[in-house]
Assembly symmetry: C2
Homo-oligomer: 602 residues x 2
């Protein structure tokens, strides 16, 4: 059960050098006059015994189960991994992720020579500024979020990554139910003929289909598509379930895996198989469908802002970027740390495209047969990629408290056996206090690692708050609380009372601060990298600088294609929030109703 907490990161974010740890403690020392140097220094030496780390699963289980399970089943962390050492030596932690060829990676990984040499056998991630893609892969490996599957382009979502997905699921699932949707499940095998029924749908999806041609040892009469999305099979069933206007609206959702045969893949962002939710609804009128499509993109927008602290820009896709089979696609576009855009969620008004293709009709209140109006909308495990690339830094992942599987990590610090008992008791008591307050908390009481190693490890994992507690802290009935998002002394609160209500209040307040701060930081970054343009030349310059360009646009598909071919940027969306005033299309000089946002994207 340790897989979730103790894989490659052991080495990738292993103990900092002595100098590094000294530096850390210097900060602590200068601001904590009550503790003599010897005491603080003693924190650096530890008995090296069996290391015990409760699993992520145990973290959320009732404390009784936690204790009994921990007692009966010692959890041990493995020592630095030899395989990983060589990986680090050969040029960076990202190698540790690879169990398949990287040849199809979206961005070609730099050769060993391009990389900044790792700081030692236990290395660290490639700096973000040096190579954003290598940094991204390093963080995924070191924070143990995912690994490559054996089939090209597939991904194994590891427990810590999956726990983030469960956070996303929990929030969205409750919002879907609140807005009147029921979960259900459609088969993943779709007759090939279904895909062909909607003209633009088949055109959009044909190139990336996986086909089952053999079942039970026999060649199948009709090839089966492994669902790339479910509009066709949903409509096949809706056609049987919908008879009258009384059956409408029909509003469902499913959590499922989908398959798209992508040529260039990247963990979380674009994989052959991924997990998502797909909502599907049918309505009596276009207006209702439109309202639903807008409602759901707003659910996504709120999720991004309020939970993931990602200040997405919501808007409408251009015709060229509209979903294959939709009349209108709404999107939330997020700016990643490298300033590329990530389409983080979409909601489609399907009009009557699928209902006409599948004959999905209802009898209206006047007894007339009409085709239903439909929507579909989806968010996938890609969102996890968005979280990594929005908030992460050179120390690793940085998780917004509201979606963090672990919000607070408690690191007990001791030297003698007596101190150990005292400190672990205090840590357990702090844990109980915080857990009772609904905070996702964990004590890292392993004996095999130094506090310095643990600090790095949990920073790599992006845990928002760390609480340090040592013997002197117990004497003072206080602890040190450190923010993941602010390095060094400015991010530390010293002398925080252990008194339960005070501690709870402080931690909750800090978690809220971090949540707000991550959002604010991302907003500043976003706004500092969107430039208004009034000519194509300006756009080219802005895109050339790696930024997003925003300008009035009323040109056609051909001009849009030209921009893409000449600059690599596409229209990410026509944002819902539009500047006031008269606009002139920067490409054609014609009047324009809206500004569009152009950017390079994932």
């Amino acid at each position: 059960m340790k897989i979730d907490l103790c894989q490659m990161a052991h080495s990738a974010c292993g103990p900092r050098s002595g100098a590094d740890i000294s530096l850390r403690y210097k900060t602590l020392l200068t601001s904590s006059p009550v503790l003599p140097l010897a005491t603080r220094a003693s924190r650096l030496s530890f008995p090296m015994g069996a290391l015990r780390l409760p699993s992520l699963a145990l973290l959320f289980s009732p404390s009784k189960a936690l204790r009994s399970s921990s007692a009966s089943r010692p959890l041990r962390l493995r020592p630095p991994v030899i395989r990983k050492v060589s990986a680090s030596l050969s040029g960076g932690a990202s190698r540790a992720l690879s169990t398949q060829s990287l040849a199809n990676e979206e961005a070609t990984p730099p050769s060993a020579a391009d990389r900044k040499p790792s700081s030692g056998p236990e290395g660290s991630v490639t700096p973000r500024s040096v190579d954003f893609n290598a940094w991204y892969l390093d963080v995924i490996a070191s924070a143990e979020l995912a690994d490559y599957g054996p089939v090209r382009g597939t991904m194994v979502i590891r427990p810590y990554g999956y726990a983030i997905w469960e956070s996303i699921q929990e929030y969205l699932n409750s919002k879907f139910k609140e807005t009147g949707h029921s979960n259900m499940y459609f088969p993943q095998f779709i007759p090939y003929s279904f895909i062909e029924k909607e003209a633009s749908h088949v055109e959009g999806f044909s190139p990336e289909l996986a086909l089952v041609t053999i079942g039970g040892g026999k060649e199948l009469e009709e090839k089966l598509v492994v669902r790339p999305t479910s509009e066709t099979i949903v409509n096949h069933m809706f056609t049987q379930w919908i008879q009258s206007y009384r059956d409408l609206p029909l509003m469902i959702n499913q959590w499922a895996n989908v398959t798209r045969w992508e040529m260039r893949t990247k963990p979380f962002v674009r994989t052959l198989e991924f997990l998502w939710q797909e909502g599907h609804t049918a309505h009596a009128t276009l207006e209702e469908a439109e309202k639903e499509a807008l409602q759901m993109i707003d659910v996504y927008r709120k999720f991004a802002y309020e939970q993931a602290a990602i200040p997405v820009i919501a808007g409408r896709k251009s015709r060229a970027e509209t979903f294959a089979g939709a009349t209108q696609t709404y999107t939330i576009e997020a700016m990643m740390g490298d300033r590329k855009a990530l389409q983080a969620g979409t909601s489609h008004n399907l009009g009557q495209n699928f209902s006409r293709a599948f004959g999905t009709q209802f009898t209206d209140e006047n007894g007339q047969r009409q085709h239903v109006w439909q929507t579909s909308w989806a968010v996938s495990t890609r969102f996890i990629g968005g979280i990594i690339m929005t908030h992460g830094d050179d120390a690793g992942l940085m998780l917004p408290p509201r979606i963090a599987p672990i919000q607070v990590i408690i690191v007990p610090i001791w030297k003698t056996a007596d101190e150990r008992t005292e400190v672990l008791n205090a840590a357990a008591s702090l844990e109980r206090t915080l857990r009772a307050a609904g905070i996702k908390v964990k004590v890292d009481d392993s004996e095999q690692r130094t506090p310095g190693w643990k600090f790095n490890f949990w920073e790599m994992k992006g845990v928002p708050l760390r609480i340090e507690v040592g013997p002197r802290d117990i004497g003072n009935r206080s602890v040190v609380v450190c923010r993941r998002d602010i390095p060094g002394k400015p991010g530390k609160d010293f002398g925080i009372s252990m008194e339960p209500s005070k501690l709870e209040s402080h931690v909750k307040s800090r978690l809220e601060d971090i949540q707000a701060s991550l959002l604010q930081r991302a907003i500043s970054f976003r706004d500092g990298n969107i430039v208004d343009v009034n000519s194509y030349e300006e756009l080219k310059a802005v895109i050339g600088q790696g930024k997003w360009a925003r300008g009035p646009w009323s040109a056609g598909d051909n001009e849009e294609l030209k921009v893409k071919e000449e600059t690599g940027a596409t229209i990410r969306c026509f944002p819902f929030e539009q500047p006031l005033g008269k606009k002139t299309c920067f490409m054609t000089g014609n009047p324009a109703d809206e500004v569009a946002i152009f950017a390079k994207s994932y």
Copy 2:
């Protein structure tokens, strides 16, 4: 959003005839002297307006969201479905389920002539005693649990059926985490070569594989298996993650879809694709693996008994029935209403079979390389079939309260507009009371259906308790509480106080009674249908009567095969609970250590 509550059951369990309703009310009248006949009779006539039924999704949402959503989005039920009428006329509600050929159904459905004619266009389900298989399919259609998918053998799990799955997931998921397992996700595409690595595994699964041979428009170099189970890919990854004894035990679980190309399918029980959870663990010793395999079958056994009220028999599979690749398979076997056995969950001790095939090794505490010892264990959507076939009756589904998506249905009864307001207010107040007490409750305040229709509808859906509230009840500050599991007057409690604490206490107590009663009834049925045998002749007679036979067994695979060929029965398990005393194998006359249970099975 109405799909979950208002599909085929409208017609399948439509209004009872006037005579039927009178009969129902006679019971009520004779036992409720305070109400004059006219008042009770008035309950039978209703204004026919827009019918509003909150969706299942809304049922569980915060009451504020429920109100606002209901207000802004009227939910309407459709009138009796014409398609269904003809289906009923042509021989039974099960026709309503079919959107594909029934040719591959496990049991050949009887022809129209074989069926008891339905009672009219709104029909009812085929009586269980007349045709168990037809009854089963009728209940699935009428209670809106599932429908056929377009590809032979596939199934669409509808919202009400999926909500039962969510109940199962919620319980098991928390138990898995309590016992130290973390969720994660493995890709569903497995290189064909993986399947071939473990000899008995390939032999067991080859005949039922679905193979992807084309991806992105190109023939693949290596065929990909759509996972039938994940031992092979799990081991491929474990081999990379496990280095040392400190990495063990490694305990994970995934919730996923799996595909097995079954020839004879039956909704929930055996479908081409189904949903399940599969746990996979790796340990340093055989003893630990054995302990884990036994622990997990016990989690399943407890779930069956305590949540699903299914008194399964837990035991060990015979060699012939052991999972392909396991050294030992443990099982829970449930007796269905037709006395056939259903294997409802399994837990395998895999020994070192997969670790040897995949080279999954660790360095032990003495520095020696060793192969890990493994387990895997699974429960699937088949369990829903088990619930239907254990508890259901001629009135439809019957759900144990602990897994029922709706535990209490409140049916308000009124005549005039004034009464309507008063009664609906009272019903809403009762709903708030019960919801605040953690009870899953719903008010059926639709105006388009009679109380009699609603009674039948919610009985078909298997809701454990119904509360009836009319104007006179309000005057008396009391309600009528009716049990689903006891028909007629004996199942009704009259004059139950509306006072919140009293009502809550009564309802909770009744739900516990029902939970216990369903289990007790199933235990009695099971025990009444297991017969001890001491000779092969006795076994043949018992199996011939459709019962389970239990007898001492120490014979070999050949004798087991002979029993199967001659009687259709297989060894379901060697139960963990064994009778005391010396035993002699009824087949060979040799000494036997254990009794085995033989039965025909699904």
